[in-house]
Symmetry: C2
């Protein structure tokens, strides 16, 4: 029970580890964990790498993998998880909806050392969305937790109250969260409140047994620019804030998830409101995507939104892949999406914690000054690609083929030495 | 003389055209042109598409093409210009430094209809950087202007005063602007002031003859995060502001160029200071790049910086290609860089002029709601890529293969209709 230990003044081995990685005083980290402003998602029955997410931590990134009903290839999903970790994913979420879900989850949990998350309602709803019972929902959570997942997304903020706001809104796309849509379909059909909201205490009990971290999903996230930052969404923020507080009071670590499609100038507003309404809970963002018109490039629009969100305080960025809105991603898509999201997280960190993050940039600048290509490749976020581009079009000079001997760096050094 | 006409109260055909494209009152545009807050770069001896750059205009993008000493292939450079325009470049700059520069420039000017820019000092310095005379410099400008280029970059802000600040600074990379480094090398070797600064009036006279737009280059732009937003750079901003005012007073349209490598949280500061110090001159930014460690992905880091810069008021974004810092770009690099920069400009416009820019996003949202894939492709920034991804991994359902029948959009529509 990491949070309880922190409150008792104990610095657990996980906190020691995270404090070292994050270059932060262990006592300060302990206080952040105790207050819920930092989470270290780690199921007691699995030995995940301790990973600090939240205030004063470097920005973390998650990669989603998982089958769909159309494409079920377990080996492929394991490959995706492995390549994501190789290129810097701090956590993996298994969002499988097709095939033997238990087996796939088991394989992914075995394949990677980083914290693994899941969305249990996908499994509960596998046979029928509207006919699942509330027991099915909680049993799915229990099954995932017992199997070792370190965090689960639960759409507990999708309530009858939120549904009412949705009906009063004039959204174009209503709900684009898969779990959110399942929950709403269930509530309408069964004319009942969301069980995860109504029996939230029971959920927290299950979580406590394995020190599971709850990621409060945002079922009402906006699916297009027109639907962003509206009353439906802010209503849900309010509920998620209350739920986060409730979880903390029981010693359960909580993340809060956020939108969605948001114009660039409203990301600041969303992130700051979320932090405010959740008393500084660690924020986990999908995107945000600041435009709707770039299918095929949504890893890039996600990186643009993610950089800005991170700068304003988002702690955890979910990778978007180039096939978002179009198809189940390939292994190559996951690699590309992970790298680009890693760049966004680093850009955010340069803004958030300049001196710490910029050591690597400074080393790169020095390597550039020295025209030391080997070192430049080593310091690159993707050494292989940088080397391939450089070597495919070599210069006859020691500079690159963009400028050759007209390299500004060379000219200015010679000039300043009066050698020219 | 567009600016003079605007001041006399005349709405020229160029202004008519731009006002229509930009959906702005022609009288308002006329006032913006008269004050220098909007430029329409158009050499009187060339029939370029009238393109408004500046306040209240949509964010424009430029693509750089041109040979280097290592790779001289005229056809290739023409192809780059054409593909850039095809994917949305509003202007082209020919930055050739290798081969028959006159011929290449002529070919590019003939191949595209958009405004074309160049950097005459590259030609003046082709034989020797330090031995060129000030006549060589001005003659190069004259040659380019007479050949029809619509705007030229002139590094007139690189003065002995700026050099002094550079020497007092502790920059890692000193100067990374090619034209800036030529100028500094020349000044040190010849122990003289920059002729473009000293004889700026003469430059303005040449410009007036053909209604040339001057783009005041930022020779002191930062080449790494560590060098950003320093005294050398702000000293140059001050000079560029004075030079922009001087040009306006003579009826010469002026753009001001900006940095460089800048951390995300300082882009706001740079853009707003530049606008302030130049009395609202249209800002032309390369990048900005908010990290140094992503060679191979600098079209993406540039799009991240460009989106944020655009949101804060930058008017004109220069495309960065994936081979920036590594090699002369290929045709494919130019295509990729242009598309990604176009996305950045659109994201900026959504923030700057929401209602106007978001029409296309709203149409996309509606097409998504209707699962109308044909329309989604049409509205995409790169229809071909979107279609290819979708079709490579088709779903058995009418949704995409990410969710298939578990598509949130489908579920929620059915649920809200109580059909489930």
């Amino acid at each position: 029970m990491i949070m309880e230990a922190a409150r008792k003044g104990q610095i657990t081995p996980e906190m020691e580890y995270v404090a070292k990685v994050e270059e932060i005083d262990p006592q300060r980290l302990r206080r952040l964990v105790a207050s819920g402003r930092v989470v270290i998602p780690k199921n007691i029955s699995r030995d995940a790498v301790p990973t600090g997410i939240g205030e004063s931590m470097s920005t973390k990134i998650n990669a989603n993998v998982g089958t769909s009903k159309d494409f079920i290839d377990m080996e492929e999903e394991v490959k995706k998880a492995l390549i994501a970790v190789q290129y810097g994913a701090d956590t993996i979420m298994d969002l499988s909806t097709g095939g033997d879900l238990d087996e796939i989850r088991k394989r992914i949990l075995k394949s990677v050392k980083v914290p693994v998350g899941s969305v249990p309602i996908y499994q509960a709803a596998q046979d029928s969305i509207v006919d699942m019972s509330s027991d099915d929902m909680f049993n799915a959570v229990r099954k995932h937790v017992e199997g070792g997942v370190d965090f689960v997304t639960i759409h507990a903020g999708v309530t009858l109250d939120a549904l009412e706001r949705l009906k009063r809104s004039n959204r174009i796309l209503n709900v684009v969260s898969r779990g959110g849509s399942f929950t709403i379909a269930w509530m309408i059909h069964n004319e009942k409140e969301n069980p995860f909201y109504e029996e939230y205490d029971y959920l927290l009990e299950i979580a406590k047994e394995h020190d599971l971290t709850i990621s409060l999903g945002d079922g009402m996230r906006s699916g297009c620019i027109a639907d962003a930052s509206d009353r439906s969404k802010f209503m849900e923020f309010v509920t998620l804030g209350e739920l986060a507080r409730e979880a903390r009071s029981k010693g359960v670590q909580t993340l809060v998830e956020g939108p969605g499609h948001v114009p660039l100038d409203e990301i600041d507003l969303n992130v700051r409101m979320m932090k405010r309404l959740t008393d500084g809970a660690p924020l986990y963002l999908l995107g945000p995507l600041p435009t709707d018109i770039a299918p095929g490039y949504d890893h890039i629009t996600g990186a643009i939104g993610g950089s800005v969100a991170g700068m304003h305080g988002a702690d955890f960025l979910c990778m978007t892949s180039p096939s978002e809105h179009l198809a189940l991603p390939t292994v190559e898509d996951i690699k590309e999406g992970t790298i680009v999201t890693k760049i966004a997280a680093h850009i955010a960190d340069l803004a958030k914690t300049r001196e710490r993050a910029k050591k690597r940039d400074d080393q790169m600048a020095i390597a550039r000054k020295n025209l030391d290509w080997k070192r430049q490749f080593e310091l690159s976020i993707d050494p292989e690609r940088a080397r391939r581009i450089k070597c495919s079009r070599k210069s006859k000079s020691d500079a690159c083929s963009m400028c050759g001997d007209l390299c500004a760096i060379k000219i200015i050094q010679n000039a300043l030495r009066r050698e020219i």
